[in-house]
């Protein structure tokens, strides 16, 4: 997981306030919290001298672009395909008690995590308990992962 300091090092560090925040560090924190977008730092986009930093910043922030609204990110290259998250997920168990519930691959379409082509994929994540008005801090999938392939931003 990238840190606010690592993001700060890729910004102009001029505290010009064009993004609406008082300091570049505040902007870094805003990016990490997904309250700000990279394009709001106009000097970074417009000035040629920041080209390399902008490129690196986009690379570093790319996983966050892909994170769902629940904040779930999957890193398939780290995934063991072990199915721990598929079987631990309370939504999966409720949706498919005779399959996921007892450790087998899902058959229901309503599951939100399943293993395909050797790695986990997510589906219909708005059913995830971390989403919506009654959201809770469920961490069944991240806590059971042997390799931090699945995490929340």
């Amino acid at each position: 997981m990238v840190s606010a300091m690592e993001i700060y090092m890729l910004l102009p560090k001029t505290n010009c306030k064009k993004c609406g925040l008082p300091t570049c560090m505040a902007f870094a924190v805003g990016l990490l919290g997904r309250e700000k977008k990279i394009d709001e730092c106009t000097p970074l986009i417009e000035e040629k001298k920041y080209e390399a930093k902008l490129k690196k910043l986009r690379e570093v922030m790319a996983p966050f672009e892909n994170a769902s609204e629940t904040g779930l990110i999957i890193h398939p290259e780290k995934c063991y395909g072990c199915g721990n998250c598929v079987v631990a997920c309370p939504v999966n168990v409720a949706a498919d008690p005779t399959r996921c519930g007892i450790g087998l691959g899902p058959q229901s379409d309503r599951v939100i995590l399943k293993v395909e082509d050797g790695v986990v994929v997510s589906n219909n994540l708005k059913e995830c308990r971390r989403f919506g008005p009654n959201k809770i801090l469920c961490n069944a999938c991240t806590a059971t992962c042997p390799s931090k392939a699945i995490e929340f931003v």
Partner: protein, 409 residues
């Protein structure tokens, strides 16, 4: 999508769904990364019949193999752990006919433990029993996250079971005993007991001590006492020993047997061996039924003889020809053994290229069991799994190849 069985490890998962198109694995569900690698392997580096580095027909290769084996005085037949029961049975018949030595991978893996389990000296259970009843799972010198990836999600930690409806959240404890914080040990978090390499004997003595209410001779006494109380409160415990534990104890397996017996005076405690290949246990059971021994058997004197001199490591040096089937001892065994095997005329029966096929005088391509060939195998817990192939091929199965070799002798 077709329902298929994975032969990538000894869990033999059969809830896999696969679809193939244009000679490529198009889409597959529920297969872990290890199984996925196993399936993908069907589509590359496939062997063709070869004699002395030149392409040949399958019939020529089989004939040459039969020639080499029948003129050898001390042939060795090695591999077997990646073969179906049907092929293994053909292999044992071939060994008998040739008066050969036959051995499998258990010889340098879980053999010492498997013997005691099959002899009934160490109580065991099925993986379904684990899922339904186990409230304590102990991974000892084993890292299933890497070796048997779906172990925890299908059986030992995360799924619900008959008596474990609340599963990992409230009703199961996972313990890891290891020399390092493996991926599995990480999952076990506070229940990770670190031991120094080779010191499992002392660990067992310490556990026996706390079970008797005595002070254990370890640095972290509090943690060991805590382990003792977990074990005493267990309703149905299962120990999964891996190579780490087996190699550490070796000749001292009696001590582990004593520990398990002691635990069973208090509560139910079973042991399931974490064998690697998909049908190692099948070979051990089959050979034991026929000869009384699980591995390392020689038929040279007519009646089956057993001993370390008939292990692949010793026989590699004394044999004058070897058949290697579904295995790559040149990759998997110590250099001295690999070197000895590379010197004798080798016949390799393998679907894919390996160091053994590169070194072999005769290469015989075979259908991959589980994917291209059907048959029966025995899961790590003794359950029999029968499977049908889902990929079409013209290649001969291991069983067919062995039968043809036997006919030619």
């Amino acid at each position: 999508m077709e329902a298929v069985t994975c032969t990538g490890c000894s869990l033999l998962c059969n809830d896999i769904e696969a679809a193939v198109t244009d000679e490529k694995l198009f889409h597959v569900k529920n297969l872990c990364r290890k199984g996925h690698g196993h399936f993908q392997a069907a589509f590359s580096e496939r062997t063709v019949p070869m004699i002395d580095g030149q392409k040949a027909t399958i019939d020529q290769a089989i004939a040459r193999a039969a020639e080499i084996l029948s003129s050898a005085k001390k042939p060795l037949l090695y591999g077997w752990s990646n073969c179906t029961l049907e092929a293994q049975a053909a292999g044992v018949r071939l060994a008998e006919k040739l008066g050969a030595t036959i051995d499998d991978t258990s010889s340098f893996c879980q053999g010492i433990l498997m013997e005691r389990i099959l002899d009934g000296r160490i109580p065991t259970c099925t993986l379904d029993d684990v899922r339904n009843y186990a409230d304590t799972s102990i991974f000892w010198g084993a890292d299933p996250s890497n070796s048997h990836p779906r172990h925890l999600s299908r059986f030992s930690y995360y799924p619900r079971g008959e008596k474990r409806q609340k599963s990992y959240e409230e009703e199961r404890t996972c313990i890891a005993v290891d020399v390092r914080r493996s991926a599995t040990a990480e999952i076990c978090s506070n229940y990770y007991y670190r031991v120094a390499p080779g010191s499992d004997e002392q660990f067992i003595e310490a556990v026996l001590a706390v079970l008797d209410g005595k002070i254990p001779k370890v640095a972290d006494k509090k943690k060991m006492i805590e382990l003792g109380s977990i074990l005493k409160k267990t309703e149905y415990g299962v120990i999964f020993p891996g190579l780490g534990m087996v190699y550490s104890l070796q000749e001292k397996m009696d001590l582990f047997e004593r520990l398990v017996a002691r635990l069973n005076e208090i509560t139910a405690f079973k042991v399931v061996p974490m064998v690697g290949h998909y049908n190692t246990r099948g070979f051990n059971e089959l050979l034991r039924e026929k000869t009384g021994f699980i591995n390392r058997v020689s038929f040279s004197g007519g009646a089956p003889a057993h001993g370390p001199e008939h292990s692949v490591m010793a026989a590699a040096k004394s044999c004058d020809a070897a058949l290697v089937i579904g295995s790559d001892p040149l990759s998997a065994l110590p250099f001295a053994t690999a070197k000895a095997l590379a010197k004798v005329p080798l016949i390799a029966i393998d679907p894919r290229r390996s160091l053994a096929t590169d070194a072999a005088r005769v290469v015989i391509p075979s259908a991959i069991s589980g994917l291209e060939a059907g048959g029966t195998a025995v899961r790590m817990d003794g359950m029999r799994v029968k499977f049908e192939p889902f990929l079409k091929t013209d290649l001969l199965t291991d069983e067919q190849i062995l039968t043809k070799i036997m006919e030619a002798i």
